[in-house]
């Protein structure tokens, strides 16, 4: 039973990692944003 749980958790973690990598790569391809030069940051 616990081996099955471990296998499921492993598959879930691998799937999450894949989802995340896709999201990160998509985010890096977004259009550049012109940000104010002297701002500390934005909310």
């Amino acid at each position: 039973m616990r081996i099955a749980i471990a296998a499921v958790v492993g598959v879930v973690l691998a799937a999450l990692a894949s989802v995340f990598v896709v999201q990160v790569s998509n985010a890096s391809q977004s259009d550049p944003v012109i940000k104010p030069l002297y701002n500390y940051g934005s909310r």
Partner: protein, 571 residues
């Protein structure tokens, strides 16, 4: 695994995490990110010790870096400090897990060193604050035993990273240590020793800040600007619970907060908190829970009841320390890390009579989960922490100023605190000239966040604000204010109208990365900071107490209270 070896494994794991996180920032050069500015060959000055009348947020961290840079290259000092944060965080959190097994300790260490809190504060450049965060689990251990013989000395040693970090690092350490002292045995003695240790180690910034003639700043605009914000689908409070929620949208790691991974991270955090509540019932564990709860409330104030915080700051400006509330989630990070460690311990404890492959596999997954769910912290937060070299024009400017024997200060234009230097890839950072140049450098320290502006705190900058913003000729006004040089480190083209306002000043350097004008015969001007004697006294006391904590025996009675075996680091 027993003895020092298990601490060694945790330290090595922390080092690997640090190498992974800093990535390209480890190349030769300097990483400039928001408030993190390191410069080559930093020199001790009145600013280093908070004696220029500015708010001493950089005290004593700048002095620590400057001292280290006398024996190491300054860029190496920066990398050393950043890696030390990860090594300390992993080692300290691992040492707090009540388990003899390695896996539970590593699970806690990895989560504590690799989570949204660390990622956002690192990108925000709060390295000094992270020193205190990294050592917080050690503070937990020391505070839990503060009432014992030698407890005061142990607590002082545990607080040294926070003391180096300065105000914010001490604030989270104080919250945690006082809660633990209050929840433990020998409450009176523990609270007394903890309070004294905290006050003494705060003296370098406490004294210079207190004696600052301009008084305590407390702009209520900052309440709205620095309040926690949602960086997950669970709102500001949910984001704080998940150890994120820092005010600055630009410091959220790429991809963090997406529904699927945010939900998975929520499951990890909830499981860890439940495990902590279920199995951690010792006095120090209650203290950590108390600190985590109080910290969460403080963190949420600006987002939930901003009017209350504004009212409190109006009552006493000191409450402005609660504006950037997300930093007070740090004790919750300790709780979550220990909770995950305890959960792994319980999973592994089941059926230990035989080799349990599934238990080991689950433990490995728990150790890896924080990294899998936040991979964009890796490689310099996906390329956002990069080492760069200062331009040659800056070195030329420094040479010119150092060779000049006429006293006078430096004013930096454009009149703003933060820059997006092209040579730093356009990434936001504090203006680096105040640390780069040996003279007193005046920049406008008013902070712009979106459409909000938090007014300047440096009295010299406030006095010069009218002159600079007036739009007319600058030279005579700056001469009267004691300015010897005007430096333009952005918008250096000939079309910059600021150049036309400097008629009568001599251009001594004109390069794309730095333009320098010299003003003849500036009037002598005083900063009006705290007196030097106050800093000398504060530093003498702090250094004396730190030396005492290492070298002086606890008391003549210490022989009757044998120290616990070294391997028992868990309080």
């Amino acid at each position: 695994m027993m003895g020092r070896a298990r601490h060694g494994v945790a330290a090595f794991t922390g080092l690997v995490l640090g190498l992974l996180a800093i990535g390209p920032g480890l190349a030769p050069g300097f990483v400039l990110s928001f408030d993190m500015v390191f410069v080559p060959d930093p020199a001790f000055s009145r600013m280093t010790f908070g004696l220029t009348g500015t708010v001493p947020r950089h005290v004593p961290s700048d002095a620590f870096v400057t001292a280290l840079a006398t024996v190491l290259p300054a860029d190496a000092v920066q990398k050393l400090v950043l890696l030390a944060i990860f090594v300390m965080a992993c080692t300290a959190a691992a040492s707090l897990v009540p388990s003899e097994r390695l896996a539970p300790r590593l699970a806690a260490g990895v989560l504590y060193a690799w989570n949204p809190f660390v990622a956002e504060r690192l990108l925000l450049g709060h390295w000094a604050f992270l020193l205190g965060y990294a050592a917080l689990p050690w503070v937990v251990g020391a505070a839990a035993r503060a009432g014992e013989a030698g407890g005061g000395r142990r607590l002082v040693r545990a607080l040294i990273p926070a003391a180096i970090g300065g105000f914010a690092a001490i604030a989270i350490s104080a919250l945690t240590a006082l809660a633990i002292a209050a929840a433990g045995r020998e409450r009176g003695r523990s609270l007394g020793r903890t309070a004294v240790a905290l006050v003494v180690l705060s003296l370098p910034w406490l004294v210079t800040g207190w004696l600052r003639p301009a008084g305590m700043p407390g702009d209520t605009v900052g309440v709205e600007a620095f309040a926690a914000r949602a960086d997950t689908p669970f709102g500001a409070l949910g984001s704080l619970f998940l150890l994120g929620g820092a005010w600055n949208r630009e410091t959220v790691p790429a991809g963090y907060g997406a529904p699927v991974t945010a939900f998975a991270w929520l499951l990890v955090v909830v499981a860890a908190v439940v495990a902590y509540g279920w199995w951690c019932r010792t006095a120090w564990a209650r203290g950590v829970a108390l600190a985590a709860g109080a910290g969460f409330v403080l963190a949420a104030l600006g987002a939930v009841v901003p009017w209350l915080l504004r009212w409190a700051i109006g009552l006493w400006p000191g409450f402005a320390v609660l504006r950037d509330g997300q930093q007070y989630v740090a004790p919750l990070a300790v709780l979550v890390a220990v909770g995950l460690g305890v959960l792994v311990e319980r999973v592994m404890r089941v059926d230990t009579a035989r080799t349990d492959t599934a238990g080991a596999a689950l433990a490995i997954f728990a150790i890896l989960a924080p990294v899998v769910l936040l991979p964009s912290l890796a490689w310099g937060a996906a390329g956002r922490l990069k080492a760069v070299d200062y331009p040659a024009a800056w070195a030329a400017g420094r040479k010119i100023i150092e060779a000049d024997t006429v006293p006078g200060d430096v004013l930096v234009l454009p009149w703003a605190t933060y820059r997006s230097y092209s040579w730093n890839g356009g990434r936001t950072s504090l203006d680096a000239l105040p640390r780069y140049l040996g003279r007193r450098v005046i920049v406008s320290d008013a902070v712009m966040i979106g459409s909000l502006t938090i007014r300047a705190e440096d009295p010299r900058a406030r006095r010069l604000d009218e002159v600079v913003r007036a739009g007319g000729p600058l030279t005579e006004g700056l001469r009267a204010a004691g300015i010897r040089y005007v430096a333009l480190d952005a918008e250096t083209s000939a079309a910059n109208p600021a150049r036309g306002r400097l008629a009568g000043a001599d251009p001594v350097l004109d390069q794309p990365d730095l333009v320098l004008y010299r003003i003849e015969a500036p009037v002598k001007a005083e900063d009006g900071g705290a007196p030097v004697w106050s800093a000398v006294l504060a530093w003498s006391i702090v250094m004396g107490v730190i030396l005492w904590s290492f070298f002086v025996p606890a008391s003549t009675l210490s022989a009757y209270f044998p120290r616990r075996p070294r391997r028992r680091r868990t309080p």
